[in-house]
Symmetry: C2
Subunit: 483 residues, 2 copies
């Protein structure tokens, strides 16, 4: 992925920088336009930190109308736009380019309306994911998608990347919890899409906008589906002799018609590192563990956990431990939620994000180990097993370029293996720049051209986040074919 090309900056745009900044300052007053190099540095990367590009300027509008004026101006000037939420993309989705203006939504973070009767909530999209649930917790409601970055990441970014999280097994990902958006096109048109109702006339453009990775326009407001909290929830921890046994138990639980809120998986390496960091009481003698969380009344929880326990036992679980107190439950989750950070203390890693049909878990886990060990590296597996969303962490040494190249090669092979069994290149992190060139392993040219025609229907001049998602080789002549 270090080999991923970014387009060369357009010198004609670079030469007009002062004039473009002046034009932006006419629309957005005061500190809303950032042009000094020092301040722009804060926006040069996202959570795929290996890549950095200093943007031409950064603009942080305060209203939908300002966003529309900014985009209309940049469209007229032919300047590319990089939309930005909190910049937590793990796939380089928010990576700037030197001849582009970053348009951020961080100054638009208000709750506009809460309607418990209709179970909807209207927010400006600069609000954080956790901020949404925080605003309705006292009413006994919550917003279901819960990416690990939920403390920082914004609804704008969640919509752009169709974000998931540990609890989406039961409640779905962003697209399943999004009812409408206010959306600004590159031409500066303000378009209302969807709304409070379950269905709407005309085209349902909401789904194709959700997950369009900032390539269609900027979402400034969103109507979210909110849900009543369950009476209670309780995690249980199972140790298994092997990853294969834990994978088979996951498939069996789901096949039996039980829908836990979450089924999280860790292999031996992950267990050791997370236990050392979080002291969660993970079984150090196990080859793999599952955290299964169920919810409902105390009796419902007991019944579900009893059935899950039977299935786990039948698949060779060697230990099991229910959280008996809220503190124990929190400790179990702390280990999982801090896993990536804990891993970062002991090794550099690249985090992959593929999905597979859950029934194929055991064989894919075996294949991942083979792919990585063939290259003399190690892999830790920590992921959302319930919905087949894998996050293999391929460990490498950042100071050894050969080690990085091997890790990236292993990452690519892992994603191809996911596609081969009927899965996907990405579960919740998105394509961004990271998986752009791998899209041809998932889609035919006809399929990619159809997607590119839809992109063109929203952004005919390809000015919105243009370097992402679609393989560079399909641009140019091929883009004309697609348009």
């Amino acid at each position: 992925m270090t080999g991923i090309a970014m387009p060369n900056p357009d010198p004609a745009i670079m030469a007009r920088r002062d004039q473009i900044v002046a034009g932006l300052r006419e629309i957005v007053k005061g500190e809303g336009v950032i042009s000094s190099e020092d301040e722009r540095r804060a926006f040069e990367t996202d959570a795929l930190t290996a890549y950095r590009r200093l943007p031409l300027a950064v603009v942080l509008p305060s209203t939908t109308e300002e966003v529309a004026e900014v985009l209309k101006f940049l469209d007229r000037e032919g300047v590319p736009v990089i939309p930005r939420g909190a910049g937590t993309s793990l796939a380089g989705g928010a990576l700037p380019q030197e001849d582009a203006v970053v348009v951020g939504v961080s100054k638009m973070a208000r709750v506009l309306d809460v309607n418990l009767g209709d179970r909807t909530m209207r927010v400006q999209t600069g609000i954080t994911n956790l901020g949404v649930s925080g605003a309705i917790a006292h009413e006994g409601f919550f917003y279901a998608p819960d990416p690990s970055s939920q403390l920082a990441c914004t609804i704008a970014g969640n919509v752009a990347m169709n974000s998931g999280g540990a609890h989406c097994l039961k409640y779905g990902v962003t697209t399943n919890n999004l009812m409408g958006v206010t959306f600004v096109t590159m031409k500066g048109e303000i378009v209302e899409i969807g709304g409070d109702a379950m269905d709407a006339p005309g085209l349902d453009m909401l789904g194709v906008i959700c997950g369009s990775e900032g390539q269609f326009g900027i979402v400034t407001e969103a109507t979210l589906r909110i849900l009543p909290m369950a009476e209670g929830a309780r995690p249980i921890l199972f140790g298994f002799p092997s990853s294969e046994a834990a994978g088979a138990a996951t498939a069996a639980v789901l096949g039996a018609g039980i829908v836990p809120v979450a089924i999280e998986f860790m292999d031996k390496i992950a267990i050791d590192i997370c236990e050392d960091f979080a002291h969660a009481g993970y079984p150090l003698d196990a080859g793999a563990l599952l955290i299964v969380e169920v919810e409902g009344s105390p009796k419902e929880i007991d019944e579900q956990l009893a059935r899950i326990g039977e299935i786990a036992g039948a698949h060779g679980a060697t230990s099991s431990r229910q959280a008996k107190t809220p503190a124990e439950a929190a400790a179990i989750w702390k280990g999982r939620k801090s896993a990536f950070g804990a891993m970062g203390r002991i090794s550099d890693y690249i985090c992959m994000d593929g999905t597979i049909p859950t029934g194929r878990l055991p064989e894919v886990l075996k294949r991942i180990t083979e792919i990585v060990e063939e290259r003399g590296l190690r892999v830790a597996n920590i992921f959302h097993a319930g919905d087949g969303n894998l996050h293999p962490l391929v460990l490498y040494d950042m100071n050894d370029p050969v080690s990085l190249a091997k890790a990236e090669e292993a990452g690519e092979e892992i994603l191809k293996a996911c596609v081969e069994v009927g899965g996907c290149l990405t579960g919740e992190h998105g394509v961004g720049i990271e998986k752009r060139e791998l899209m041809t392993t998932q889609f035919t040219e006809a399929e990619l051209f159809q997607q590119m025609r839809v992109k063109s229907a929203f952004d005919p001049n390809w000015l919105m986040n243009p370097a992402k998602v679609f393989p560079l080789a399909l641009r140019g002549d091929a883009r004309k074919r697609a348009a």
Copy 2:
């Protein structure tokens, strides 16, 4: 709506009819091409029977590849295509035009794969909605969306119209239960969209295809999300003194955080007619009734019904009756499911289909009565109250043109009233031709042009079901602006 214009047939196409039929016969052999006038008559209308157009020809391919060859041929010939499932559209979505070829999927009705572990099922889209659930019932699974026409309607039609049903309050509509499709464009390209996984890289084109009313292409296969049946389910019947009281009770149940499987509403006229037909034991002294169904274990059902009973009582329910046996439950549902047929025995009617935020039910019900009575007509209300999907039946006399004109005028006013309170022109029946010219009451021109640009991205020459959905006045010059 009798005033709705259809485009004049293109004489150049009409003159080439024999040649077009011959070309189709080279692709689809034997009885798969229907050209005699008698046989074509069976395809001249759908469930919006006031409108009829004899199609140029009808073709019923047997494979995805045949569909692709047929569309490629018709695209080359510049002949419009009318995709058809079972022709049960209530909005004229499957209405032919004289210069168009109907392409039906009825010969492609096989189950291709059932995967209980992943909870997915792959079908050819000519299978009926009930056929899907029938194929997995013995495993304890079902497919959730359940339109009233489920015995006849196809998955192809369900996908095209994003169909709902009585039970979608808990489980969502088609788009919430669709995971992937095989899709053929007008150019004859076969495109795989979505799949088994919760999210996929690239654009999520599934949502915009689901509900595109046959204007993008033809869906020949679908991967559906299937669900384990609940342990049990039980309906309860409440009589209320007025429609307003029943509407307020619905809003209160949902506001309390209870999610029944269904909340169905009938007003006084509907109760009388349905009871006379089905002998379901409906309360004849009530001004309105609600059927509320919940599911779970016997104990869960008892608990939920007790809470719902308290809320209904607080909102003035005058009677309540739980189904004590499966036969009683079936009788309660029989009355509701046969309501439209029972109504047809005593009066002609037009069935509207709007949605509103559930909190606005009482006031909108009042407004509907005013709108209809102002015109000297009667209205029966039978609908999915839980998700705010109204189906007011405006009663009129088919032999009196003045009465029909008044009914259609009332229908339009009712839909506008839905839009005014933040609802939609259509809940589950689609726009078709019926609501085409009303789309401007719901959307701005900028919004409609954005939708039309997306339509053009799939069907640049507007050959797929072209006369539907978008107001005719926006075509022509305006269409060029949109393209």
